[in-house]
Each structure stands twice: as structure tokens, then as C-alpha cells.
């Protein structure tokens, strides 16, 4: 039997079109662009390490804005479908709830790709006139950002499927912050805590998403080589975690009455 991609594509395309036509998104993108552009100003007034300042501030603002834009966009888009009863239109049609969830996720990934293309693209274009040597590391960091925010979108979609958008956003942001702090917390617990706390943190370390696995920024900034194996495991970890989170969202949506 041939696998039919069309329902996923139909949902993904309409999700993408609906979000991309929101005027609010352009406002946020404009602010994000201005903040990123300010890194060029900071670089010109810095003492000697202008390229490093440019990379650090520019990439950090792109990453942070992309995370926040996508959390906002995801939770609001799912909320609109659920609360404004768009699902009345969808679910009596010949598509399954899993096709809806996966299609929606792909649509959100398309929005993420567009956001990164706009923010990262403008940044890279500006770099051409400033310091061409940092373009390659910046590009690789943007690729890891795509994977990292892809996981953030999955988590936001899961939370938004059973709670209000504000709660879903806060839970996702909380998990994102914890996910970045996990290795540090684990190290701290190993040195200073008792066996019970260490055990608890071990469990959290392996269950919660470890966003530090996607953070190749320091390596890129200091031109350190990243072993291929490490990149492979980061991608593998990200993809597996995304699959689990999307599957959980499907389970929630299957149980949900609309």
C-alpha cells in the first residue's frame, strides 16, 4: 500500500499560510531584526574582539527571538483550532487526528524555517560586508537552532493541546530554561547533594529535554572542531524526542472531545 502524504501536506500548508498572514508576526520579526542589527553596532564600539561580539550577541538574539516567536505562534495556533472550533471543520472530514497533529507540526516547522531564513538570512547578508570568516560557523549554529526550536515547537504543541495558551507558553519556557540548565544542575548535585537528590536529578536529566545537546555555539565561536559522532547523537536525540512529544500530542488529541 502506498503511503499518502497529502493530508499532512494539506494541514501543514494551511497552518503555514494562516500564520504567515498574521500581521502580528511581522511586528515581532521587525523587533527581532532590530535587536539582531544592534549587534553590529555593539561590534563597532567594542575594543578589539568585534567579530566575537557580533557572533555572540547576534546569534543569541536570533536564537532567543526564534524560540519566543515560535512558542507564541504554536500555542496561539493550537488554541485557535481548539477554542475557535476550527476542528469542527476538520475532524468530520476524512483525516485522522494523528494526520492533523503531524500536519500541524510540519506547518509550524515551515514557519520556523521562514523565521530563521528571515532573521538568519539578513544576519548572514550583513556579515558579508563585515567578516566573511564567521559565515560558516554562523550557518551551522542556525541549523542546530532549527533542531532545538523544532523540539520546542513539539513541546509547546503538546502543552497547548490540553491547556490555555498562556499556561502552555509558560510551561514550555520553563522546560526550555530547565533543559538548558540540566547538565549544570546535575554537576552541582553530584558535588553537593545527598543520594536522594542525586537520584531525582538523574531521573530528570534523562527524562526532561536536554537542550544543551544542541548548543554548538561555543564550539562555533571558538572555531573548535565538533566530532561527527556528537553531531549525529544530537540530531538522533532531537528527532527521537520530537517523535515522542508529537506522539503524546496525538494521544491527547485522540482522547479529546471538541
Amino acid at each position: 500500500m502506498r503511503f499518502d502524504f497529502s493530508p499532512y501536506l494539506v494541514i501543514a500548508r494551511s497552518t503555514f499560510r494562516e500564520i504567515i498572514r498574521e500581521r502580528l508576526l511581522y511586528g515581532i520579526l521587525l523587533v527581532a531584526t532590530l535587536v539582531t542589527a544592534s549587534s553590529f553596532f555593539m561590534a563597532t564600539i567594542s575594543f578589539d574582539q568585534s567579530s566575537r561580539v557580533l557572533e555572540n550577541v547576534g546569534l543569541a538574539s536570533i536564537q532567543l527571538f526564534t524560540v519566543f516567536i515560535m512558542i507564541f505562534v504554536t500555542t496561539n495556533s493550537v488554541y485557535k483550532d481548539l477554542e475557535r472550533r476550527v476542528l469542527y471543520l476538520l475532524f468530520p472530514k476524512p483525516i485522522s487526528r494523528s494526520e492533523y497533529v503531524i500536519g500541524k507540526y510540519f506547518g509550524l516547522l515551515m514557519v520556523l524555517a521562514t523565521t530563521l531564513l528571515i532573521l538568519g538570512g539578513m544576519y548572514i547578508l550583513a556579515l558579508i560586508g563585515f567578516d566573511r570568516t564567521i559565515i560558516t560557523p554562523v550557518f551551522s549554529v542556525l541549523c542546530y537552532t532549527f533542531l532545538e526550536v523544532g523540539l520546542v515547537i513539539g513541546i509547546a504543541q503538546l502543552f497547548a493541546s490540553f491547556t490555555a495558551p498562556l499556561n502552555a507558553s509558560l510551561y514550555t519556557i520553563g522546560l526550555y530554561i530547565i533543559g538548558h540548565a540540566l547538565p549544570t544542575l546535575k554537576q552541582f548535585a553530584e558535588r553537593n547533594s545527598g543520594a536522594a537528590t542525586q537520584h531525582l536529578l538523574d531521573v530528570c536529566y534523562y527524562i526532561l529535554p536536554n537542550f544543551e545537546k544542541f548548543d554548538f555555539k561555543p564550539a562555533a565561536l571558538y572555531r573548535l572542531p565538533v566530532p561527527g559522532q556528537q553531531v549525529f547523537w544530537a540530531i538522533f536525540y532531537g528527532v527521537i524526542y520530537i517523535c515522542v512529544v508529537v506522539y503524546l500530542t496525538i494521544l491527547v488529541m485522540r482522547k479529546r472531545e471538541v
Binding site: 499518502d4 497529502s6 493530508p7 494539506v10 494551511s14 499560510r17 494562516e18 498572514r21 498574521e22 475557535r84 472550533r85 476550527v86 476542528l87 469542527y88 471543520l89 476538520l90 475532524f91 468530520p92 472530514k93 476524512p94 483525516i95 485522522s96 472531545e257 471538541v258
Partner: protein, 242 residues
């Protein structure tokens, strides 16, 4: 698949302490129009939502063409026009029809042909390429009907189809419903406008407080010297007095 498009047997639904639907049973035959009437909160929309799988019944059996709503082949034959529709507001009327046509896996040529016919049918030629957020309530109601018809359904559900329409719109809606019936499709609809229900229904189901008060053909329900409105009021008042 069975030739009976819809069979509902002793269906119940409770929301917390509220018994929204209490043992409703009915059947819809091919080419039949069935009107569901009842006061606000009677359980009309809940019944339709259970049939369509949007809500799960606590008890009872719902059969569509001899199968269930979980069957994709069944959903391929169904059209649904929800009450107070909400769409992707940034899409245009034509884009929504294309989107729905694609969900039914119709080919591009067919979608284009059907969209043009339906836009013409519901009288939205001038507004078809405008985003839905600019539509009035009546226009949304019309595009809602158009999307429900894109797959030429064998069984069509219309939730308050006359709601928000002006008198001309209502007449047009009745004509459209009758033309769908002529094609051989079955239609289930609910409405508060009893004269419309009486005019176009073959069978009528009267429900109140989730209970089935009466079910039968218009002739069986409405004596010659009375209107459906008279019958409806006396049935609801008698039920309230219980």
C-alpha cells in the same frame, strides 16, 4: 455498506451532572430530510456532534452507512456545516474550499470546478477572493454551506443553517437543501425556525432536555388543523410540566 445512511439507537450523553442527551433513537433513510427541533439546550447540537465523532456517546449505538464515523470511507461520504462556523480567517473563501477539497483528496481540476459551482450556488462570486475575516455572518454561513457540499455528500448535516441569514438568504438556503435532496442525498438539520422545518422536512424529531418527545413524518406529527409550532409548544410545555 448498509443502505441506511444513519441509525441512532438509545444514545446518551452526560456532561458532569447535566444529562444532555437521554436515550435518543432515530433513523434517516436515503433521500430523506430530517429536521431536529427543540428549545435552546435541548441536545440538538450534542446529538449531531456525537454522530460526527466530535463527542463520544456514553451509551448507545450510532451507525452510518452500516459502519461508524471512525471509518474514513464513511467520512468521505459526509458533509457537515457547523453552527457559527470559524475557519482559518486569513484564508480566502476560495482557499477554504480548496483546502476542504484537498482534505477529501479530490484532484485539483475537480476542486476548481466544484469550488466555482459552489461559489456561484451560494452567491459569493464577488467575495470569493477576499479573506474570511472580512466576511459578514451571513457570508460565513454561505461559505460554510459551500464547504459542506464540496464532496457531493450522501449524508449532509446542517447545524442551524438558517441562522444569521436574511429572508432572501433563508429562501435560497431552503431551495439549496431541496436541490440536494433531489440529488438523492439525505439531510439532517436542526433549526429554530419551525415554519422552515415544516416546509422542507420529511421526518421531524422533537427533543427537549435531552429527551425524545416525538419522532415521525410531518403528517404523523402535525394534524391538518394545526401547525408545527402549535404541536411543538404543546409538547415542550407538557414536558416542562412533568
Amino acid at each position: 455498506m448498509s443502505s441506511i445512511p444513519l441509525s441512532v439507537e438509545d444514545v446518551h450523553k452526560q456532561f458532569g451532572p447535566v444529562k444532555a442527551v437521554r436515550g435518543i433513537s432515530f433513523e434517516v433513510k436515503s433521500g430523506e430530510v430530517m429536521g431536529i427541533i427543540g428549545p435552546n439546550g435541548a441536545g440538538k447540537t450534542t446529538t449531531i456532534k456525537m454522530i460526527l465523532g466530535l463527542l463520544q456517546p456514553d451509551k448507545g449505538k450510532i451507525s452510518l452507512f452500516g459502519s461508524t464515523i471512525a471509518d474514513e470511507a464513511v467520512r468521505q461520504r459526509i458533509g457537515y456545516m457547523p453552527e457559527s462556523p470559524t475557519f482559518y480567517n486569513h484564508l480566502t473563501g476560495r482557499e477554504i474550499l480548496t483546502f476542504v477539497g484537498e482534505l477529501f483528496r479530490l484532484d485539483k481540476k475537480e476542486i476548481k470546478k466544484r469550488s466555482n459551482e459552489l461559489i456561484e450556488l451560494v452567491g459569493l462570486n464577488k467575495a470569493a477572493d477576499r479573506p474570511l475575516r472580512e466576511y459578514s455572518k451571513g457570508m460565513l454561513q454561505r461559505i460554510d454551506l459551500a464547504q459542506a457540499l464540496i464532496n457531493e455528500p450522501d449524508l449532509l448535516f446542517l447545524d442551524e443553517p438558517m441562522d444569521g441569514l436574511d429572508p432572501i438568504g433563508r429562501i435560497r438556503m431552503k431551495e439549496i437543501i431541496l436541490s440536494i435532496k433531489e440529488r438523492g442525498a439525505s439531510i439532517v438539520f436542526n433549526s429554530h425556525i419551525l415554519s422552515d422545518v415544516e416546509a422542507i422536512s420529511d421526518r421531524i424529531l422533537v427533543i427537549d432536555q435531552g429527551k425524545m418527545l416525538k419522532y415521525g413524518t410531518v403528517k404523523q406529527l402535525v394534524p391538518a388543523n394545526k401547525t408545527l409550532e402549535d404541536v411543538f409548544i404543546s409538547l415542550v410545555e407538557a414536558n416542562d410540566a412533568l
